[in-house]
Subunit: 322 residues, 2 copies
């Protein structure tokens, strides 16, 4: 499969390095708004084609799947361009700025019979199945509560600090704890309450309480100013588990009700972790599917709506690029 990368930033580099070590897929093209930047990238990662505009790359018939690695403010615009050019799409998280944009993309992809999926990598990783399997084994009993936090020192970064780039902690960082809670407690969310600290027009530290049907609850914190321990904890009636680094799970430890460690798991060695979402896309495309089972369209929409509602409760409206 021939992959085109739209954008030439840090995350694009990681994808290029990852695909270089994968079988059955190659980074065939890269596009940046600046040709020189694309050329440097292409040379560095041995990419055949370098384009100085996204349109040019999308006009290349060889490109089958496009990985969108631009800021989330521009995902809708760029994914739409890809679909209109007849390309399958793997689009970075947060998928779009809001649920409406996401729905429009899914509708267009359906019309064009193209695959499109959100690159929320934790959904595709083996750790997801490991966590599910541990829960299903019943070792921690019935799961009723989750806590998770994720924060990075990124408030100085352009995509975080500018409202017009859909800045703030929620869309960029919060999407992980919300997905973590959703993967464990499901999609029957009854109520979401969120409190935020704003600095210079964007949320930099958020507390989120999610109440699920069946009297379950998740308590989440996400931030863009300080570092956090990235811990995800899953509490059940017979014990609990800790997931180290919810953004890229490294270790899962299970404890009993006496706080004794009863089991510990490490995830399989990985290239970067990006390989799983690419593999899922390849499989789905081969099978003629329009969505990846790891992250169904309905789930992307549902999570985007939660984030829409949270921002609405804060009166934080992100200017949309159409």
């Amino acid at each position: 499969m021939k992959l085109g990368i739209l954008g030439a930033g840090g995350i694009a580099s990681t994808m290029a390095k990852t695909v270089a070590e994968m079988k059955g897929v190659e980074v065939y093209a890269v596009a940046a708004r600046d040709l020189e930047r694309a050329r440097v990238f292409a040379q560095k990662y041995e990419v055949k084609k370098a384009y100085g505009s996204y349109e040019e790359m999308l006009a290349d018939d060889e490109v089958e799947l496009v990985y969108i690695a631009t800021p989330h403010s521009h995902h809708y615009l760029h994914a739409k361009m890809c679909l209109e050019a007849g390309k399958h799409v793997l689009c970075e998280k947060a998928f779009t700025v809001n649920a409406e944009q996401a729905q429009k993309l899914f509708d267009l992809a359906k019309e064009k019979k193209l695959l499109i999926t959100e690159a929320i990598w934790t959904r595709y990783m083996p750790s997801r199945k490991m966590i599910n399997d541990i829960i299903e084994s019943g070792v921690i009993g019935e799961v009723t509560a989750v806590t998770a936090n994720l924060s990075y020192t990124v408030s100085h970064v352009e995509r975080i600090r500018k409202p017009e780039l859909a800045g703030g902690a929620l869309l960029d960082v919060g999407v992980y704890p919300i997905n973590f809670a959703s993967m464990v407690l499901g999609d029957k969310v009854k109520d979401v309450k969120a409190t935020a600290i704003f600095q210079n027009g964007v949320d930099i530290l958020d507390s989120i309480a999610m109440v699920f049907e069946g009297d379950c609850m998740a308590t989440l914190q996400c931030g863009a100013r300080e570092i956090s321990d990235r811990m995800g904890s899953i509490f059940g009636t017979r014990g609990y588990m800790q997931v180290q680094n919810i953004n890229n799970p490294e270790k899962i430890t299970v404890f009993d009700t006496e706080h004794k460690e009863v089991a510990s798991y490490v995830v399989p060695e990985q290239i970067s972790g990006y390989e799983y979402e690419v593999e899922s896309c390849m499989k789905a495309i081969q099978e003629g599917k329009l969505e990846c089972p790891e992250m169904p369209h309905a789930e992307t929409i549902r999570i985007m709506k939660i984030m829409d509602d949270i921002r609405k409760s804060w009166n934080y409206e992100i200017p949309c690029i159409e």
Copy 2:
């Protein structure tokens, strides 16, 4: 110093065993509503006097300090009885059912020139100074965020499940994470938002977001239905620390911004941990003080008010015993 224990339950036993190993203080008397129960307790822990009513013990001139070990629904009533009988008081947490009751006790104690303090043990423990010292050393930079959780499988216990005993997770369990956050982030609370799951008339799982002046935030979860990992995490601009078991800190681990462990501390060996609050009372009484510096009256009132406001936001009114 001669201590009287009011109540003969599990926490009273721990106190008796603790004081037995301390110097300069003895459990001189115990009182229960049932004389036989008091006698069994007294025999088991080698306590000189056993009383079948609280009034009788309080009429004993030898008793100097009373440890109140009854459910928090009855703290106000019992502390008032103690003060009126001229006894100093160490009263278990949560101190009273609401701030109004707490204020009345402090006013009465002041009038009677007696010491009264809340037995929120984490405030008196060496771990508190250790955590403060680590923060003051600057190793994790400026502290701006806290997460903490505490849950126990206690929803079947009478004091938790009965609203008339001031039941629910908040007063019994939530008082710890709220105190943890307050010890770290201070007393300048700007906003508190809390979400709860209620079962049979009491809150059994709560999410609490506390916003502090200086753009700091604490995200807390407390529960009475499932077990939790009891983790308290303190995030700063240059790193973070994890406190294992916020209800009785065992280990404090410091990490840098690369998530590398840079230091680890264990707390000094302790009898049960109750000795520190008793020692503080003894010292304060000897010095003629009416409050303990580790938990000033103003701080008890402030925390009670936070919990009052939270319950008010839930429309959960606890029937008060006067």
